[in-house]
Amino acid sequence: MNNDANTYKVLLVDDEEELVSTLVERLGYRNFAAEYALNATTALDMLRKTAYDVVVVDLKLPGISGNELVQIIRKAYPNIPVILMTGHGNDKFHDSAAPEDVSSLIQKPFDVSQLVTMMKKAIAEHEH
């Protein structure tokens, strides 16, 4: 699944292109081969073509929402951990997001090291 022993493949899904394009570059320095999609439809296309180790999804996406995308991924790719990003003011899950559907929740704005820690933990938990 991985490009090499130390590199994980990650898919970032967020309509803020400047956020995800910058994160892709920063994660590259941290042994994550990251790619991004600006909407759920593109993300699902990419998931069909590439085996990702972890997917990071923004809660608020245009068209198919982040919640809906998480539920689709859970059904179609149960072995891929999902981390949910949100700009919501409190750290509780809201709307229809079910805590069991995602590995963890990260609030924007966040430090990249926080995301890296969460992704490593989520991947490790799914490997066991």
Partner: protein, 217 residues
């Protein structure tokens, strides 16, 4: 969903909805600036002695920061203008200003539905006496409803036209399937504004008109 503004009129809920949306977007902006600043740090740390990889990236990185800062500042100004609408219960204002600001703040709602808003505002001021909060809530409710009904990927046009006795805000969009109950869903308090649900002149579109008398209290 209850869209009867008369029944659900609740300025607190309306303010909450707008401010939650705008602060979400501000979070996104701060998130981008944080990551771009972090990238500068990454590039500095990974640079070997004697190398200057930042030289060819500096312009691009600075542009990102300027673009996002500008976006954030505009958003904060709009939110501040919105927050001050309630300072005066009812008074004279330029409707162009009120409509333009609300449409800008509502863009995110449309974007999250995969649609967009296009304001068409006259160059000359349209002075009216209104309760800006109630008018804005009425307009926002109409916009959200038309956005919900509009075809996927559609642009919703919000056109403000002035006439001798009243101003009219026409909210229209391509819509393949009409909702037969739409007129029931746009009941507004009589003293606020009069909603006229226009039958589309051509098939495949929806148009909702919000009429404001020049001296409406």
């Amino acid at each position: 969903m209850n869209t009867d503004i008369g029944a659900r009129y609740n300025p607190q809920a309306f303010y909450s909805e707008i401010t939650a949306s705008v602060t979400h977007e501000l979070n996104n902006i701060l998130g981008i600036i944080e990551q771009v600043a972090g990238l500068v740090e990454d590039l500095t740390v990974t640079t070997s002695e004697g190398e200057t990889p930042m030289d060819n990236r500096m312009g691009e990185i600075a542009e990102k920061i300027i673009r996002q800062t500008d976006r954030g500042m505009k958003l904060v100004k709009r939110l501040n203008k919105f927050a001050h609408m309630g300072d005066v219960l009812s008074g004279e204002c330029d409707l162009c200003d009120v409509v333009e600001n609300l449409v800008a703040l509502a863009q995110r709602f449309a974007r999250l539905k995969g649609k967009s808003l296009r304001p068409e505002i006259p160059d000359d001021a349209v002075m009216v006496v209104i309760n800006q909060v109630r008018f804005s809530e009425a307009l926002f409710t109409c916009i959200k409803r038309v956005v919900a009904l509009a075809d996927a990927g559609a642009t919703v046009t919000i056109k403000l036209v002035d006439s001798e006795y009243h101003a009219s805000i026409l909210i229209s969009a391509p819509c393949a399937e009409h909702d037969p109950d739409i007129s029931k869903q746009f009941q507004l308090p009589e003293n606020l504004a009069q909603i006229v649900v226009r039958e589309s002149e051509s098939e495949g579109s929806i148009a909702v008109e919000l009429i404001v008398n020049h001296t409406m209290g």
